[in-house]
Symmetry: C2
Subunit: 263 residues, 2 copies
């Protein structure tokens, strides 16, 4: 099985992208809803949570780990690869950076994400490395967007005003490509496009992550057994009716939520 973890609900955009591309494959999802969100937490705490989530997925049959959360990817992917050397671990940052570096025309890339993601500076560091220093990344943390998305305010006037405020400094830098560096943000794609202008290339980090997992499976067809199609399985560390409502609205299907036992 492919194991996916996220701070809570955001990683479901990755599930959706993966399900579209890997319709035969059962996914095992873990959303850490008891400790969500991750975007405001420190790297040390995120490494600890990422390890616990990875352990849980491996114990429950995952052979591949997908870190479907930018904040956790920024803080913990490198450490997870050290801790679990035999396990393919996919983070959300590298695929998005690759896409952005390939697509930018003027070498000026914008990044929007949580405070944890932005302050890690990883997007900028990777982009510099991949482009031999030719591109530059300008970042702005957008801490209010996760709660707005989780409230389902996808097209509220307030959301539009707040997105406009957040992208303003990036527009001023004349970026031609914008990385949506948080798995919640694909749900605000239209607003971002509108506020950045039609010419701006948007990079959906959930979509790029799904592409890179599919690419890996194509190259390594034996890494996971192809099983008869089964519904994906969803576990969370806390169940609330709001989560169930939002999850089903996003995925467009009913899901059965299971709660893991917590210490």
């Amino acid at each position: 099985m492919i194991g996916i973890f996220d701070s809570g609900i955001g990683g479901l955009t990755v599930v959706k992208a993966l399900q579209k591309k890997l319709f035969h494959q059962q996914l095992l999802y873990f959303g850490d809803t008891a400790r969500t969100p991750y975007g405001s937490k420190s790297p040390e705490t995120l490494v600890r949570y990422a390890r616990q989530n990875t352990e849980w997925l491996l114990e429950h049959g995952a052979k591949i780990i997908v870190v479907a959360c930018n904040s956790a990817s920024a803080a913990a992917t490198v450490q997870l690869r050290k801790d679990y050397p035999g396990v393919p671990i996919f983070g959300v940052i590298t695929p998005a950076v690759e896409a952005a570096v390939t697509k930018t025309r003027n070498g000026l890339i914008g990044l929007v994400g949580t405070r944890a993601t932005v302050s890690s500076n990883l997007y900028g560091t990777y982009a510099k490395k991949m482009s031999d220093g030719k591109v530059q990344v300008f970042a702005n943390a957008c801490p209010l967007l996760v709660p707005l998305v989780e409230e389902g305010w996808f097209s509220a006037g307030e959301t539009k005003r707040i997105v406009k405020k957040y992208v303003h400094p990036l527009r001023a830098k004349n970026v031609d490509t914008l990385i949506l560096g948080c798995t919640h943000y694909p749900l605000l794609k239209q607003i971002f496009q509108q506020k950045m202008g039609n010419q701006t290339i948007l990079i959906d980090s959930a979509e790029e992550l799904a592409k890179s997992v599919v690419h890996y499976l194509d190259e390594n067809p034996d890494s996971i057994k192809k099983l008869p199609k089964k519904k994906s399985v969803f576990y969370v560390s806390d169940i609330t009716s709001h989560f169930q409502y939002i999850a089903e609205r996003w995925l467009g299907e009913t899901i059965e939520l299971h709660k893991v036992a917590c210490a």
Copy 2:
């Protein structure tokens, strides 16, 4: 010592109110920043967190426990009193309800709070009991206000618009008293007053909680030793520079943050 816990930063409004009234008393604060916020989580999870936080405060010398978070008070105060029968435990709900029931003229009380607080229905149940069924509580959950306050957007246009949206259904019910049922909300007091109108009586749950603790100490002068004045002590389960910044801005003094070891 008086032990205070909160999901993170919100309880600092209670600290501020207590420090004003009990300037000689050292406070021991625990903010669960590694798992914040509490307002979107289930009652079962909140009871588990409240027990862990109470244990920690008792182990570190607290003789009185103050639950400085409406969501945790709603979910766990009754259970904590059962679990720790010898320990005085103060929740934030009863004092606010008492104040509201005393002050309302038309018997129609509004409540704003997190989703966890509102769906507990505790404010309404207590208000009915205290008034022999004479008052009615109308509640609206305001999940976006905690993130707006934590961003320090105390007077942003977006915050004003969102507060207006949230209080609209309560204005329509003609409430004459509004309980600010979340320890973050005192920082938005002016906006609430403006959007509700000058005639509306606002009940600050942090302020009322502090009053009830002071009242208890007056009646039970031997419950806590009067020690030479010492600075309050602040522990959190996760340290970020943003927390430190916001905490010092709210309290108007520099604080030393300590991190507890987490499993």
